[in-house]
């Protein structure tokens, strides 16, 4: 027959101490709430900013160029990256990859044909495909091919749309822009020229340029520009963390200019994550504090009931059975506290998603599974610390 704990419950003197018990419950609830909210917000930030950030494979991609000063003005050698510069940068531990942005060394003219009466001198650049955020499968070129695919900066499209009306040109949507066939005319030094057809195959948020396949530009530079040794004015760098202090110091030392805009987004994200990590740690501290308060309350309760507990042990009650049952008394209230905190967190998440984020599809109104598992973990943690505490105190009474 199972021994009942019911008649023993009244032997545990808790009466006069309800105040401190409720304080620790409320403290625990607040701590758990802070912790769960922080985790959920941390995940929200990941989900919100993760999709739009400059990161690809968890790395930052940024372009650097040499700062053109009054002293270096006009000295092409000093303003371009040569092979030595590139290999030096590539050797740095914080750099995962470098690719030069190679520009055309011949005159290029672009016209939009008959539909849009627009013609301009322009530039072309090429970049390693790995460094471009949007590379469609048709972004290739072979010698003899008359069609050139182009990856176009979305910023440039925006700029075009700003000035187009003033010149009587139609504004273009991203979809329409990719359907416009343009004519690219390359001029050689001796008057030869060749015209290619081209169209935008993708828009890039990362690269501020007009990118054509690398083998095309190499071929064209060779044919029209009479040079194979092309120095780069810009380098694209792949790095784990664009905010790495070593990296930034190095850039400063070499007087390289970095596109700050591109790292700003990452920095905002970092600051936000920092804030919520801090809040999470604070929440964890509150949880620990509440558990400590509760353990004081337990100690007090056991000290008050010491005579009764001692007598029970003397009568033959198993100290292990008593510890289990004494700590079991708090299971419902612990679960309740964590569930209430979980409900508040869910309410917060729903309100955040609905009112602050207007139901953006990247987010969910439901809690992330890590939040739920943290809640379960916290219940387990509280019960375990309780049980160990009670057991330790009871064994002292034997």
């Amino acid at each position: 027959m199972a021994v009942s704990f019911k008649p023993i419950r009244s032997l545990m003197q808790t009466g006069t101490n309800t105040g401190s018990r409720w304080f620790s419950y409320i403290g625990l609830g607040i701590g758990v709430l802070l912790l769960l909210c922080s985790i959920q917000m941390y995940i929200n930030i990941q989900q919100l900013l993760g999709s739009e950030s400059q990161r690809k494979d968890g790395s930052d991609f940024i372009s650097i160029s040499k700062t053109i000063t009054n002293e270096t003005m006009g000295q092409l050698e000093k303003n371009l990256f040569n092979a030595n510069d590139i290999s030096e940068i590539a050797a740095k531990p914080f750099i995962e990859g470098v690719s030069p942005l190679t520009a055309n060394r011949f005159r290029v003219q672009l016209s939009a044909g008959d539909i849009i009466p627009f013609s301009t001198d322009m530039f072309l650049e090429s970049l390693d495909n790995n460094f471009i955020d949007t590379v469609p499968p048709n972004f290739t070129w072979q010698e003899g091919q008359n069609y050139i695919p182009i990856v176009f900066s979305s910023d440039f499209l925006e700029i075009y749309n700003v000035f187009a009306p003033g010149y009587g040109l139609p504004q273009l949507s991203a979809e329409t822009a990719s359907q416009v066939v343009v004519f690219i005319t390359c001029y050689g030094p001796n008057g030869e020229k060749q015209t290619f057809r081209g169209s935008i195959v993708a828009l890039s948020d990362r690269v501020n340029s007009i990118i054509v396949p690398k083998n095309f530009l190499d071929w064209a530079n060779n044919k029209f520009g009479n040079t194979t040794d092309v120095k780069a004015s810009r380098l694209y760098i792949k790095t784990k963390d664009a905010n790495n202090p070593d990296f930034l110091t190095y850039l400063q030392q070499k007087n390289y200019k970095v596109n700050k805009d591109k790292t700003k987004f990452g920095r905002v994200k970092q600051v936000l994550q920092g804030i919520f990590s801090g809040l999470g740690i604070f929440g964890l501290l509150v949880v620990i504090l509440a558990l400590m308060l509760f353990s004081f309350y337990l100690q007090l309760m056991i000290a008050r009931s010491k005579d009764n507990l001692q007598l029970l042990l003397m009568m033959g009650y198993s100290p292990n059975w008593l510890s289990k049952n004494v700590s079991k008394q708090f299971i419902p209230v612990y679960i309740l506290v964590v569930l209430v905190a979980l409900a508040f967190t869910e309410g917060m998440q729903w309100a955040f998603h609905h009112f602050a984020m207007f139901d953006r599809p990247e987010l969910s109104s439901m809690l992330h599974w890590t939040v739920l598992s943290t809640a379960i973990f916290l219940i387990g943690l509280s019960l375990l610390t309780n049980y160990r505490m009670v057991k330790k105190l009871l064994y002292k009474l034997v």
């Binding site: 023993i8 007598l311 009568m315 033959g316 059975w321």
Partner: protein, 213 residues
Amino acid sequence: MQLQLQQVLPVYFDENHRTQSEVWRKDLTFTKGEYIKIVAPSGSGKTSLMHFLYGMRNEYNGNIVYNSANLRNYTPEDFAGYRKDHVSIVFQDLRLFPEQTVQENIELKRQLNPFHPAEKIKEMAERLGIGNKLASRSRICSYGEQQRVAIIRSLMQPFDFLLLDEPFSHLDDKNSQNAMQLMLEEAKLRNAAIIFADLERIDWFPYTRIFHL
């Protein structure tokens, strides 16, 4: 089922106790079914002996062995089992829960390892003349009544040895004999031994062996 004393002497006793005592510093073996009477004047260590045998204290030299297991090696869990299943006691200072009723006090012991059904509590209480006290808090009962509660409580479990430490100090002869009769019946039911320690010889305890402490 044997309870053995091997050269036991409280650490706070000096060695000359050994010469006067028939228990201290002796090798004694108590077996089931025996009625042991221990006559002990005040200060001779009667309560100490009972507490040692019950495993509540261990400030003694020598060993106490139950069924070839030394009590010194018992874990807290072992003691719980020992007190629940094998050895029962009536304390000199009774040790009831003051805020619980008489019924609750007895039931707390009975539910641990019930030898009797719950109805037996009322039957025994009536037999010892405290049937009308079952619903009273034990602290408002007289000492004599509390003594009878402690006796009934000790009879709720199975045991091989029943330890009695001045169980009748506040009972008149009639009530004492009545209670003794009940305990003897209960011991017989279990074929258990009674180890009865008191200040002087009591005629109505049919001891099989007597020791002077």
